[in-house]
Symmetry: C2
Subunit: 205 residues, 2 copies
DNA sequence: TGCAATTTCCCGCAAATGGGGGATGGTCTT
DNA sequence: AAGACCATCCCCCATTTGCGGGAAATTGCA
């Protein structure tokens, strides 16, 4: 028996979901909350197997709630169930510790299957959400840097000094300096720290 | 009609997959390759809708092949179909541009559904793979830094100088230096660049 | 209440960094 | 043959950074 809790402010959706889940064999749904504040308060005592969490809630958002719940119960599985598909909602939810991300138009059978998958150690995601997630792994733009500049940038990220870089590449410090000036210009930064951040964020190395 | 190509060295698996796909209404599978070299050569001419790609191949791996194919055809959808579940295989594949990642034990109906999802703009993933991906978004360890140190670290990442940090936090430059010394000790680094990299990689900010 | 952690402040100094400028030769494309 | 791009080298100089020390005030928790 999988115990499910629901956090959802819309009364119709909440009760419909509860009825579907509670009415399915192997599932139980005895606890529903209409706001995150009470959910964060109560759920640690209830200890459900899976929490269905909306994002758009009055007061505390589902993302903040996820964060707070995961802080208290790191092993709790929280499945976002929302209509929001913007990158912020998706990635903030995942960073906050959500175990999966489903869109509200998910048909009941798929929802039940997803809850089972969560229980089995999986992370169900609507296909369009998964695409967003995968895309974030790929290099977005094509690098404006030359091969040599990329080589040097990666060493900058390692914290090497101009001197050690020059030694290892068998060129003079002046040369390294020149390359770095060009790197900074191309990346529109003017310090090593910014260059490192940009390199990592844009996956330039 | 969705045109599927297969890259898979095992003869039995390859022909079985082809039979299943080609025998299903709405699917066609006329092209199969037993190594990546020929696939990379031929597929740009064939222009299939979806490529099923194994990873363990003689010669060029499926990951390298994915990289090369995506370089030539950025819009091509490549679905990894493999038994490998190690993090390297998973994340390298996704970085190389794979559109989805399925395990070989996926039942035929789910495989066909996944191919359809890819065609519809989705990114099907086996649940256990999805879990790996989601976990990579979450903070792994708990930060060893205090609130103040975290605040300062985030400004270091922005490339602010000690002086501007001090001004904005209404403390002296000496104080900022002190905090930074502690940050470097705790993170086991000794330069700003390394601190920035560690902060971003370990999601400390 | 008392200890530990945190935050704040200070000194001096050597090294590294970043901005400005310019120059040469090689390769590749037009 | 001309121009563009790249990699290499050089100068000066102010600012920033990192390391070595040390110390006081505040906060939080046991």
């Amino acid at each position: 028996m999988i115990h499910v809790a629901i956090v959802e402010d819309d009364r119709d959706i909440r009760t419909t979901l509860a009825l579907i889940i509670d009415g399915s064999p192997g599932f139980s749904c005895q606890y529903q909350y209409e706001d995150c504040e009470s959910a964060v308060q109560e759920i640690p005592r209830i200890r459900p197997d899976v929490v269905l969490m909306d994002i758009n809630l009055p007061g505390m958002t589902g993302i903040e709630g996820t964060q707070k719940l995961k802080a208290k119960m790191p092993d709790l599985d929280i499945l976002m169930l929302t209509i929001k598909t913007d990158n912020h909602s998706v990635f903030d939810s995942l960073c906050a510790g959500a175990t999966g991300y489903l869109l509200k138009h998910t048909p009941p059978t798929d929802l039940l299957r997803a809850i089972e998958e969560v229980k089995a150690g999986g992370s169900p995601m609507s296909a369009v959400i998964a695409r967003k997630v995968l895309t974030s792994f790929q290099r977005t733009a094509t690098s404006p840097l030359t091969q040599r500049e990329t080589e040097i940038l990666s060493r900058l990220c390692d914290g090497q000094t101009y001197t050690t870089i020059a030694e290892e590449l068998f060129v003079s410090g002046h040369t390294v300096r020149s390359h770095i000036k060009n790197i900074y210009q191309k990346l529109h930064v003017n310090s090593r720290a910014e260059a490192v951040r940009k390199a990592l964020k844009d996956k330039l190395i």
